[in-house]
C-alpha cells in the first residue's frame, strides 16, 4: 500500500506499512500510477511509454527500474504483517496516565466548550484533596512495571482549585520515592487566574503547560467570554507572555480552537507568532451541527486549503531554521514511536483514565458525564474496572476499524478519537469522517514540510548525502 501526493512543488510517495518516505521527480511520480499494472502484467511498459509520451523513453524505463528496486528492497509496496504478530495477541495495557478534572467549574463561558462551561453537564464542584490523593495512589498501585506516569490537571479551570493542584504535586513527589515512579505533571489553563505565584509554580513543576487562546483578538473574544460576557484576550495574553518569558526551555503550547466562523485560521496561527509564542497548536472545534459554529462537510474544502496555505508558510519558516512550531506539522520521519504504539493509539479506557471531582472514573475526559461509560468510583472498596469495557477499548485499534484499514494515515493517527466516533457515529469503531479528512491533510502537510527541510539541508551540505540512497 502506498500513497502519493504533490504539495508545494514536492512529489512524495509514502510506503504506508513500512514507513519509508520518498521524494520523486515528476516522471517517476507519473510512472507510479502504472507501475503495479506493468509489474502484474496487465499493461506493457511500452504501452505506458506511449501513454506518457511527453517523457523520453529511456527516462521512463529508468524511472520504472528505480521504483522496482525500491520494492525489491522493501521500501515500497510492503505488506502489513503486524496484525498477526505476537505483540498484538499479548498486549496487556496498564494504566499509566490520569486526567484529573480538578475543577468542574470555570471562570470563562466559551461557547464551544465540550465541558459545558466546566461542569460537564453536572453540578459545579472542586476536587477535594483526599480524592486527588486517592487518584494518585490508584495510579501508582495499578501501573505495573511502568515507571513514567502522567497526571494532567484539567477541568473546567484547574487554577480555580490551585491549592489542591499544589498539594497533589507535592504528594506525587512523595509517592515517586516510595514506588520508584516518575511523575510527569501537566496543566491546561485558560489563563485568567495566572498570577506571579501560579506562573512560578507552573514553570517549576509542570512538564507541559497548555495555554488556551484562539488567535486574533476578535476571533478569541467572539468565543472565549468572561462570566460578564466580555472578551478574554486582553486579560490573558499579557499573562501568557509573562509565563513563557520565565519558562525557559520547558514545554508549553499556545492552543487555539477554530470554528466555521474562523476558517481562515492560518491567520490566527500567524498571530501567535506575532505575539512571540513559539509552540502553538490550532484544533478544529468538535460540535454537533445544530451549533452555528460547528464544522460541516461543506467547510472541508476551505479547511484543507487553509492547512496547505499554513504548511507552505511554515515550510518557509523551517527552511530559514525559525524555531516556531505548529503541533500538527511536527512529524518525526527518522523514527517516531514504535509500531505497537501506533496501532494502539491513545490508550483511553486502558492506559489513560479521567477522574472527576467526585472520584468517578471514565475512559477519558471526553466521556465524562456519559453514565454508560462510567467505569467505577475511587471510593468503592476493591475497585475493579469493568473488564468488558476495558476490553472494548483495548480492541478499538486500527485493525478493527474498517475505515482505517485502507487509510494512508493509519500509522500516524492510530484510528482517531474514540469519543468523536461515538458522538458522531454512535460507535467507537466508526471514525468521525470530517476529523479523518483533516488528519489526512495535516499528515501530508507535515511530511511535505519535513521533506522540504531535509532537501534544503542537503543543498546546504551536499557532501552529507547519507540520508539518500
Amino acid at each position: 500500500m502506498i500513497h502519493k501526493f504533490t504539495m508545494n512543488g514536492v512529489h512524495i510517495a509514502m510506503d504506508i506499512n513500512g514507513g519509508s518516505v520518498h521524494v520523486l521527480d515528476e516522471i517517476t511520480y507519473d510512472m507510479l500510477d502504472f507501475y503495479e499494472e506493468i509489474r502484474d502484467g496487465k499493461r506493457s511498459l511500452q504501452e505506458v511509454m506511449e501513454k506518457l509520451s511527453r517523457y523520453p523513453q529511456e527516462e521512463l524505463a529508468s524511472a520504472y527500474d528505480e521504483i522496482r528496486t525500491l520494492e525489491e528492497d522493501g521500501l515500497l509496496y510492503t505488506e502489513d504483517a503486524y496484525e498477526t504478530m505476537d505483540f498484538m495477541k499479548n498486549r496487556k495495557p496498564v494504566v499509566k496516565a490520569l486526567c484529573l478534572n480538578i475543577a468542574h467549574d470555570c471562570n470563562l463561558m466559551c461557547k464551544y466548550c465540550f465541558a459545558k462551561q466546566g461542569d460537564f453537564g453536572g453540578k459545579k464542584c472542586l476536587m477535594p484533596l483526599e480524592t486527588g490523593k486517592k487518584a494518585l495512589e490508584y495510579l501508582v498501585k495499578n501501573s505495573g512495571s511502568r515507571r513514567n506516569l502522567e497526571v494532567d490537571f484539567f477541568g473546567g479551570e484547574p487554577l480555580m482549585n490551585f491549592q489542591v493542584v499544589k498539594d497533589l504535586v507535592h504528594y506525587g513527589r512523595e509517592l515517586e520515592k516510595e514506588y520508584h515512579k516518575n511523575f510527569r505533571f501537566t496543566i491546561t489553563t485558560n489563563g485568567v487566574l495566572l498570577n506571579e505565584e501560579a506562573i512560578e509554580f507552573i514553570n517549576t513543576h509542570m512538564d507541559n503547560a497548555v495555554l488556551s487562546l484562539d488567535g486574533r483578538k476578535q476571533i478569541n473574544d467572539d468565543m472565549r467570554l468572561t462570566l460578564t460576557g466580555k472578551g478574554s484576550y486582553d486579560v490573558i495574553v499579557p499573562k501568557y507572555q509573562k509565563l513563557i518569558e520565565k519558562r525557559g526551555n520547558k514545554s508549553y503550547y499556545i492552543r487555539g480552537t477554530f470554528t466555521r466562523d474562523s476558517l481562515d485560521f492560518s491567520e490566527d496561527v500567524k498571530h501567535f507568532k506575532e505575539l512571540g509564542f513559539v509552540h502553538t497548536s490550532m484544533e478544529p472545534v468538535v460540535s454537533s451541527e445544530e451549533n452555528p459554529y460547528a464544522i460541516r462537510e461543506e467547510d472541508l474544502p476551505k479547511i484543507l486549503e487553509e492547512y496547505e496555505k499554513l504548511a507552505v508558510y511554515y515550510a518557509d519558516l523551517k527552511e530559514k531554521k525559525d524555531p516556531f512550531s505548529f503541533f500538527h506539522f511536527m512529524v518525526d520521519l527518522t523514527q517516531g514511536p514504535c509500531v505497537i504504539k501506533r496501532i494502539s493509539g491513545c490508550g483511553a479506557g486502558t492506559e489513560y483514565l479521567c477522574i472527576t471531582p467526585e472520584g468517578d472514573l471514565y475512559p477519558c475526559h471526553q466521556f465524562v458525564g456519559n453514565e454508560a461509560y462510567k467505569m467505577g468510583n475511587l471510593y468503592e472498596e476493591d475497585l475493579t474496572l469493568p473488564k468488558e469495557m476495558q476490553s472494548m477499548f483495548k480492541e478499538a485499534h486500527i485493525y478493527h476499524k474498517e475505515d482505517c484499514k485502507t487509510c494512508f494515515s493509519k500509522f500516524y493517527c492510530s484510528g482517531g478519537c474514540h469519543a468523536n466516533a461515538l458522538s458522531f457515529n454512535g460507535d467507537i469503531l466508526k471514525p468521525y469522517r470530517i476529523g479523518c479528512e483533516m488528519q489526512r491533510k495535516r499528515l501530508e502537510c507535515a511530511i511535505m514540510v519535513e521533506a522540504k527541510r531535509m532537501l534544503s539541508e542537503e543543498e546546504e551540505a551536499p557532501e552529507e548525502k547519507v540520508l539518500f540512497l
Partner: protein, 41 residues
C-alpha cells in the same frame, strides 16, 4: 537519479525494540502519535 529516500522502513525496525509503554499517552495538546519520539529506538 529519480528518487530520493528521506527515511527507510522505520515501522518494521521498531517491532523488535518497541512496546515498552514508557512513552506519553497521545490524545490535550502534548503529543500525538505522529510527533512523539522514543528513547529506545
Amino acid at each position: 537519479k529519480h528518487i530520493k529516500t528521506l527515511t527507510k522502513s522505520t515501522l518494521k525496525k521498531s517491532v523488535a525494540k518497541g512496546g515498552c509503554g514508557e512513552c506519553q499517552t497521545s490524545c490535550k495538546t502534548s503529543c500525538t502519535v505522529a510527533n512523539q519520539e522514543c528513547e529506545n529506538l
